[in-house]
């Protein structure tokens, strides 16, 4: 009676602790979705720039929209209506669809300071005479209605010269004032979102706003809208990952419950088996919450995958429990083996702490805390509430039959060594790349969507996504001056055909110094009036036509130069956003290149002119390589620690070798199989190999602990089999995922469970032989 009361009290206490932990987690932990957390830290300024830029560069914020399914003229109207609607929405910073730009007031006001047209060609009689003559031709042309109102204040059309200098990039084909692709069937819009490209939640909101605007405007079901770009992909990826995780997770849970009932025939086991893992998850989350304040979505997904190994701990306990012993005694008997498994797995995850990747460090804290809690609760709490009336696995006929069928011969050193050598030879010689260095290969975005994105990007003339230039300076003014100094060289690169176009902040915002130079070159009022009178002589203008021009020019002589803050307060702030950014150590100005044809020529020009040219593809590959090298180093250190833990726990090198050999061989076999299947290895394979090794080590430790003693051996076989089958089910399900990351993990761990289980079966006989 008192035993029953005790176990109920323990259960109540445990559940209360779980509830308290959930409250802590729910109130302290924010879930973040910033992918940068999972990128390595930078070792060079170029890499730092790549990392800063990811998710924040104009390119990553760019959504490309194509409208089709109608007459071009109607699509053009739809494009204008959509652009108009989106311009009023807070989700978007800039919407471009090819509509003629209205001249912004600040451009009109500062035109004499912004225009490049007067550099080296200051106002004089000849220039004014040419301009006035040309304006007469404009007044007799179809453009007259547009230009007539501009001419009195701006006879040289400096404001238009400013806009034209911005629009130097090749524009797509125009129909009805809207951008179209070459075939003239799809209207194109380039939209910059307010949120970064890798903020999937904000991107999903922006895309929803875009779609609802489109739905409210389209009056014909034939109209179709295609949205592409990094933001669309990150929203799609998140949605898809969530959907697949839900489906696969539910399937795995059901399968697990069925398997548990089948293995133990006690309903209560379903709850009991869930307690340590639930405690592990909550404790892990609470630890991450205390340590970091937020948890990344990927940490959650990976973390719960990785602490899946803790699901095995209660199963070993259940399989060894039978009526003749107290559960606490069973737990005590298993503890040394279980603790060795927990400690060695935790040691392996320590490698993640040293990887230099914030996301992986979170993962390590989560996993280590979770595994420790699962181990300790399985040892000290679970035995007090589980009851002792379990079937003795040693007396189950199917287990005995299986034991007879799986009576593997002992593995001998020559056999093991030979197999390992063969596996190493095959994994080294198999064709195909060994490592996956392309971050892009991990994207879950279907290839056809990437192809559409490429095509739209090309059609809109979006800048090259691979090469960027970088100039750093202490102040925005110095950065702008440096950009201006670099411009003649860039123009020479365009002329030489190395690049087709370039863009930078100083094209929109000249340095204050440059603006003052232009100001100084403006003629004094009297001189200008005399020039103008001489220039207009004999032309049919009314005498007072250009009074506004004289007044504006006089005002321009004392105007304060346009500043970065001034430009940022206008509706055109997006022009320099992302091109000129403040950093911890100063200001960074970005140079965008389009159509890079001769990267070597560009690079050597840049090197001689204080411009860093960044090959984004090369740098991100270098980052991946660097991350992997550190990871491998950490894993090597972890492997040594793991060997030490196992050796310490088992007390002899012979026993340690027996336990570690199947795991090591399994790891080689997994890599070999992946290589034969043509898979290039990535970070997620490495993480999965660690998980597989942790699982294999547990199997081996339990088999080694049992040895050939018959009832123990059968109970161990039952336990390990329940563990292996449940894990296998979960990861086989994951390997059916369409998301490359989940599939990498699924396949690797499923292979690992299989190899490790089969090889670990030989351990009892190896032990006996020794």
């Amino acid at each position: 009676m008192s035993g029953r009361w005790h176990s109920t009290a323990w259960l109540g206490l445990w559940i209360a602790a779980l509830v308290a932990l959930s409250v802590v987690v729910a109130t302290t932990l924010r879930v973040s979705s910033d992918l940068r957390l999972f990128l390595p830290d930078a070792s060079t300024p170029a890499q730092q720039f790549v990392l800063d830029g990811i998710g924040d560069s104009p390119a990553s914020r760019l959504l490309l929209v194509a409208l089709d399914g109608g007459d071009p003229a109607v699509l053009a109207e739809l494009s204008h209506a959509l652009a108009e609607r989106l311009r009023g929405s807070p989700e978007f910073r800039q919407v471009r669809n090819g509509a003629e730009q209205r001249i912004p007031d600040w451009v009109t006001e500062h035109r004499h300071l912004l225009t490049p047209a007067r550099d080296g060609r200051p106002f004089d009689e000849g220039i004014l005479r040419d301009a006035l003559t040309e304006r007469l031709q404009d007044l007799a042309s179809p453009a007259a209605p547009l230009l007539e109102s501009l001419i009195p204040a701006d006879p040289t059309l400096e404001a238009l010269a400013v806009l034209e200098s911005w629009a130097a990039r090749a524009a797509p084909r125009s129909i009805g004032g809207a951008w179209f692709d070459e075939s003239g069937t799809r209207a194109l819009l380039a939209i910059e979102t307010a949120a970064g490209g890798f903020d999937p939640d904000a991107q999903a909101r922006a895309i929803a706003a875009l779609e609802s605007a489109f739905e409210s405007l389209r009056d014909d079901d034939d109209f179709q809208m295609t949205v592409s770009g990094p933001g669309r992909f990150s929203a799609l990826m998140k949605e898809r990952t969530q959907r697949e995780a839900t489906v696969l997770g539910s399937a795995a849970t059901v399968a697990l419950l069925v398997l548990l009932y089948f293995a133990y025939r006690r309903w209560r086991v379903l709850l009991l088996a869930a307690l340590p893992i639930a405690s592990a998850g909550l404790a892990g989350l609470a630890m991450v919450g205390i340590r970091f304040g937020e948890v990344h979505g990927i940490t959650l997904a990976f973390g719960f995958t990785l602490i899946g190994v803790a699901q095995d701990y209660p199963l070993h306990l259940f399989s060894h429990q039978h009526r003749t012993v107290e559960p606490l005694a069973t737990a005590r008997a298993l503890w040394r083996t279980l603790a060795t498994g927990v400690a060695s797995t935790c040691v392996a995850y320590l490698a993640f702490l040293a990887s230099g990747v914030a996301g992986l460090a979170q993962l390590a804290w989560f996993t280590i805390t979770g595994l420790l809690v699962a181990g300790l609760t399985t040892r000290y709490a679970l035995p007090r509430i589980m009851g002792d009336d379990f079937r003795d696995a040693a007396e189950l006929p199917p287990v005995a039959r299986l034991d007879a069928a799986l009576a593997w011969p002992a593995l001998r050193a020559p056999g093991l060594g030979g197999a390992a050598l063969a596996a190493i030879a095959i994994l080294l010689l198999a064709p195909g790349r060994f490592w996956q260095d392309d971050l892009g290969a991990l994207t879950p975005v279907p290839r056809e969507l990437l192809a559409v994105d490429n095509e739209l990007r090309h059609a809109v003339g979006a800048p090259d996504a691979r090469y960027l230039g970088l100039i750093t300076a202490a102040t925005p003014e110095a950065a702008l001056a440096a950009l201006e100094a670099a411009t003649p060289g860039l123009e020479a690169q365009v002329a030489a055909g190395a690049i087709s176009q370039f863009d930078h902040a100083a094209r929109y915002l000249p340095s204050a110094q440059r603006q003052r130079e232009r100001q100084r070159a403006l003629p004094a009022p009297d001189a200008l009036a005399a020039m103008l009178a001489a220039a207009a002589r004999g032309l049919p203008y009314r005498d007072d036509t250009f009074t506004p021009f004289l007044a504006d020019l006089e005002r321009a002589r004392t105007l304060s130069p346009l500043t970065l803050d001034g430009l940022r307060s206008t509706t055109e702030a997006a022009l320099v956003d992302g091109l000129l950014r403040e950093r911890e150590d100063g200001w960074a100005a970005t140079l965008l290149f389009s159509g890079v044809i001769d990267a070597a020529a560009l690079g050597s020009w840049a090197g001689a002119n204080g411009v860093t040219v960044i090959d984004l593809k090369g740098e991100s590959a270098a980052l991946v390589v660097r991350q992997r090298e550190r990871m491998l180093l950490c894993l090597a250190a972890a492997a040594l620690l793991l060997v030490a833990v196992v050796r310490l726990s088992l007390g002899s090198w012979g026993r340690a070798a027996r336990v570690l050999a199947p795991m090591a061989l399994s790891t080689l076999l997994i890599v070999m199989t992946l290589r034969l299947a043509g898979q290039a290895l990535d970070l997620f394979h490495l993480v999965s190999l660690v998980l597989a090794a942790g699982l294999g080590l547990d199997y081996a430790l339990f088999f080694e602990h049992a040895g050939l003693r018959r009832p123990e051996r059968l109970r161990t076989l039952h336990g390990v089999l329940a563990c292996a089958l449940s894990t296998l089910m979960v990861f086989v399900l994951l390997s059916f995922s369409t998301i490359p990351v989940l599939r990498s993990i699924g396949i690797t761990v499923a292979l690992g469970v299989t190899f490790n289980f089969l090889l670990a079966l030989s351990i009892p006989r190896s032990a006996a032989r020794a």
Partner: protein, 199 residues
């Protein structure tokens, strides 16, 4: 003189030929090259500007206005796009959908020559009047772009030939296109005959 009479008795006089028949007769299947002279008034100017050259009608929606005197300039209308090019200068491009007032004369003449009556009636409210051989069309765009100046296009002609197109903005003559005006010597006289009273 003739036009004053016409204006006094518009609809009743339009018995001689109905609008559809006139529009059908104005249409041209083959490419045309039509000499023209154009008069432009502006509030910035003390006197009108006069340019001359040829209109090259290529086919549906495609028209070039080639100015040869007093300077060289070429304007192409292709569907919705207007492109103006002068020797030694980068071309300017405009879209008619965004600035319909730019099309003015050229859109009108292009529409008449292409003979797409349905499109013409869809785009413009048409007031038609005729007397004997002479006729007049007043075309008012049904959809003026927001903010653009309301303008009416007046076309006058005789038999199957349009002779004069006038853009009236706020009731004033903004520009006038005199077709088939071969020589400059009697330009004023021929304008008076074909376009009516000089403004």
């Amino acid at each position: 003189m003739l036009w004053i009479a016409l204006a006094a008795a518009p609809a009743a006089a339009a018995e001689s030929r109905d609008l559809d028949a006139l529009l059908a007769a104005l249409a041209r299947d083959s490419p045309q090259s039509i000499p023209f002279a154009e008069f432009h008034a502006s509030r910035l100017l003390k006197q009108e500007l006069i340019v001359s050259g040829t209109l090259e009608y290529v086919g549906a929606g495609k028209l070039a206005r080639v100015v040869t005197a007093p300077y060289q300039e070429r304007t192409d209308i292709n569907g919705d796009e207007v492109r103006i090019e002068r020797a030694g200068r980068p071309a300017r491009r405009f879209s008619l959908a965004r600035a319909p007032e730019l099309g003015g004369l050229l859109v009108g003449i292009s529409a008449l020559l292409s003979g797409d009556r349905a499109a013409l009636k869809r785009e413009f409210a048409i007031v038609y009047s005729a007397a004997g051989d002479g006729w007049q069309l007043e075309l008012t765009p049904r959809q003026a772009a927001a903010g653009s100046v309301a303008s009416t296009l007046r076309v006058r002609g005789s038999a199957d030939v349009p002779r004069c197109l006038t853009v009236l903005r706020d009731g004033r003559v903004a520009s006038e296109l005199l077709l088939e005006a071969a020589t400059a010597t009697d330009l004023a006289g021929s304008r008076a005959i074909h376009c009516g009273e000089a403004p």
